[in-house]
Symmetry: C2
Subunit: 515 residues, 2 copies
């Protein structure tokens, strides 16, 4: 094993137990760990760290690529080790700790964390803990099923701990493309001009002298938890395919479309899955996470190439894909999330971007993160990187939640992650709203008529109609804007919110305020 | 004159009156006009168009770079010609028409309009009307004091009308750098790697056969309306200079800082003015508009280079600078706004970006556009292009407005143009909040203690304290979030809003909603 996996012989003496390695992590440190959407996270050292916390009090700042698998965020939260966490998470236990104020969570655009570290506006990173397939003879680190922020963590960290994971096949070697932007003020353009552009190294180049510990593990990545397509997600896919076909007819797109991005989650996965039965072919992806549907698109002969920062698939798909990765390798690149999510590259390639809304409002502002405007769900992730710079920024959601007691389209969202400037298309199972080139009043009519569930449509029409009487570029009744949320929280349903307000209060004395 | 200014002789026959040229513009057309922040707009043809509307009914969609000078937006609104207007404006009469729903206004990130035109998601542009210093022997159009969207309007339009403005000196020739991104999917990196990078042509290359009319005018650009620095804007500048000095001490910046951007307006101009007395030198700007302070920084020997899309200065400064532009020419570049505001270039250069907030909330979300969440002021302009991609995203505002009856820091902004992810520093005359690496609860404490006016501070502390009891990553009392706005509109002041709510209502039954 060790000859294959630790090819720089001078490092063989650094092999130790996870418990020994975890001892390097001290109270108050900032630790950068590998891991992006439950793939490729360091597994043994964080577990050992959590165990150590049973008999020793210490706190760390934990940075990763995105969410961790193997319940690590839960275990670390329970152990009380986390003082601060960034830039993304999706664990219910950590979520509760964030919402109660026990853990300070910094919710960042996924492309930005390493920019802040590099310019020393965040950090320094004391220790990086990185999962690897192997270490090259030069001391280069070959990542596993994700890169995330691992490259910059490794390069900037004072000390590095490597977890060699024997369950991650050596065949992953060569799939990674590690490009690090040059230093300002001498920064050059990022040379990625297509999803298939290879512009970097197949490993993370670090000084081997910084490697203080190597741990050998056999823990598997966690399986993705997304649900299979259902009738509503199929309808969403259908609306989008119809729209894209129309764009082809208008000569705006070819049947190859433009490179696709899809956020993590059930709905985005289902929409991609829907492309199997579409007229499009020769597709390419430039995305952050590859889910099951991507491999189905490969197998269906629809997809030519996929660039991403991680591979997060179901247990079945994992067993099928990862051991047999050679089959896909020439059509896959894993990049640092800074590059997969880089505004420069996203804008250049002209992506079609699909991301999920938690709720949207009649003007097309999107809440992706905060339940009731206050309680964090997961985080903004890459949705801002992609939607802002997309050629087509598409947001998808089912029109109802909680057995119909919540309308996903509300008068005003309680938290804005993406404002109307960054939302081109809104799609629910009811239909699609094409918002391009529309003013807010036109956006409202389009969203209400095309995307809202019939049981809430009259209520939204009524709100909008009464708001229009007050005037404004973006008409609202501020005192009533959150009344649907209020109704849900008081009575468990938004259904009666629409009926509550029928008399328009007099227009306020709206004085102009000079800038 | 005409030999100097119209160097392609075959075009001499196209010279006509503005009234004749305006006749080419028909009902229902989309017209792209030059003009960016009151500089370099086409002047004679839009005036003639407005006059024609006195005896003929027609409507157009008008696209420009940004706002127009010479009261053109007002005159065109009065004449009833505007059906649709994008991507920015700052005229009180047009603003009223937008807020009453007479004119549909599409408020866009200034870098995006031409992307949408080029991909045919907007448009087509039927006629472009461009102010020019001269037409080259090849038919190239040399713009005047702004480029804005003129290059792409000219290249994509079916027909082009040129206004040769004799008051714009021939010395402007050579100051422009017209680079147009290559076509997707073959788009290359934009080769700008420093503010001083020259990467394009000194004129707009169009097919001379498309030029259907040339009009000769002598109308001046309008003077900028910004106010001189006052004691509060000087305090804001002082806080920012202190912060930047601290960053230099920490080794994060050198005394040359990083290239600067400043949004249009009195406060941003005053902050730049303050740099004259700062320890920084060898500065560069990569901005959209150059205001008076930029030339003062040049004259003070502080500024080495400035790149922009327009020059918008006061009457005094205009008389000083424009006829004598040769003095500054080697240190100035005017670019298309797509390039001055391009996410790719902004991120690459690592800009320090100063933009103005209309209001901000305790978590650092920014409202730049909507009074009371409903009534459009001017538009988002370039603030989103810059803040999202900045190395340092700074928002400035005075802590009070309307003689102290409005607090610029409120519990929750009524409209979000920039959310907390994109705001690194908030500065008022009271002080500076450094929000980098902070979670929302920490951001709130920092903003309340450092930026709010003492007369509103207790009220915000009280709101935050009571919101904390409800919990959440971003604690709020939704039913009270807009109560300060409500108080202002009902009683003309926010001062009593703080006292209204002292008893915390019970926490709502906050059920989790799954994504």
């Amino acid at each position: 094993m060790q000859n294959d996996r630790i090819r720089l012989k001078s490092l063989l003496g650094k092999v130790m137990t996870p418990e020994e390695a975890a001892l390097f992590i001290k109270d108050g440190m900032t630790v950068g760990m590998s891991g992006f959407t439950r793939a490729g996270e360091a597994k043994a050292v964080p577990l050992a760290l959590a165990e150590r916390a049973a008999h020793e009090e210490f706190k760390i700042t934990l940075m990763t690529g995105a969410s961790l698998g193997n319940d690590l965020d839960k275990i670390l939260t329970h152990s009380g080790v986390l003082a601060r966490r960034l830039p993304f998470q999706s664990d219910p236990v950590l979520r509760r700790a964030i919402n109660s104020g026990e853990v300070m969570f910094i919710d960042q655009h996924l492309s930005e964390t390493v920019e802040l570290l590099r310019s020393r506006q965040l950090g320094p990173v004391n220790i990086a803990v990185l999962e690897a397939v192997a270490i090259t003879p030069e001391g280069g680190i070959i990542p596993t099923t994700s890169i995330g922020n691992s490259a910059t963590f490794g390069i900037l960290a004072e000390k590095v701990i490597i977890e060699i994971n024997l369950t991650q096949p050596l065949a992953l070697e060569g799939i990674h493309d590690v490009y690090i932007p040059t230093r300002r003020p001498f920064r050059e353009p990022i040379p990625v001009v297509a999803p298939e552009s290879r512009v970097g190294l197949p490993f993370i180049p670090i000084d081997p002298a910084k490697i203080i510990a190597i741990v050998v593990t056999k823990k598997l990545d966690s399986a993705s938890t997304i649900l299979p397509p259902d009738s509503e997600t199929r309808q969403i896919a259908g609306h989008l395919i119809e729209f894209l076909s129309h764009e082809v007819k208008r000569g705006r797109l070819s049947l190859q479309l433009q490179p696709l991005q899809a956020g993590i989650g059930t709905i985005a996965n289902a929409v991609l899955h829907g492309l199997i039965e579409s007229p499009f072919h020769g597709l390419k992806m430039y995305s952050e996470v590859l889910q099951d549907s991507v491999f189905e698109l490969f197998d269906a002969g629809k997809l030519d190439f996929a660039s991403c920062s991680s591979i997060t698939v179901s247990e079945t798909k994992y067993r099928e894909v990862v051991p047999d990765i050679d089959k896909y390798k020439s059509r896959l690149i894993l990049r640092p999330q800074e590059i997969s999510n880089h505004p420069e590259v996203i804008r250049r390639l002209g992506l079609i971007c699909l991301n999920t809304a938690l709720e949207c409002d009649i003007y097309g502002n999107i809440n992706s993160t905060h339940v009731n405007g206050t309680h964090m769900m997961n985080g903004i992730g890459g949705s801002g990187d992609f939607a802002r710079n997309a050629s087509y920024a598409v947001f998808v959601t089912k029109s109802l939640a909680k057995n119909g007691n919540i309308s996903s389209v509300v008068p005003m969202v309680t938290h804005v992650d993406h404002n109307e400037h960054d939302v081109d298309l809104m799609v629910t199972e009811v239909g699609l709203a094409d918002l391009r080139g529309l003013a807010p009043r036109e956006r409202a009519r389009t969203i209400i008529e095309n995307c809202t569930h019939p049981i809430y449509r009259d209520g939204l029409r009524d709100y909008f109609k009464r708001a229009l009487k007050r005037g404004g570029h973006t008409p609202h009744l501020l005192e009533e804007a959150f009344s649907w949320h209020d109704a849900f929280h008081k009575r468990g349903t938004m259904k009666d919110a629409c009926a509550e307000h029928r008399v328009t209060p007099p227009a306020p004395n709206l004085e102009k305020r000079s800038l």
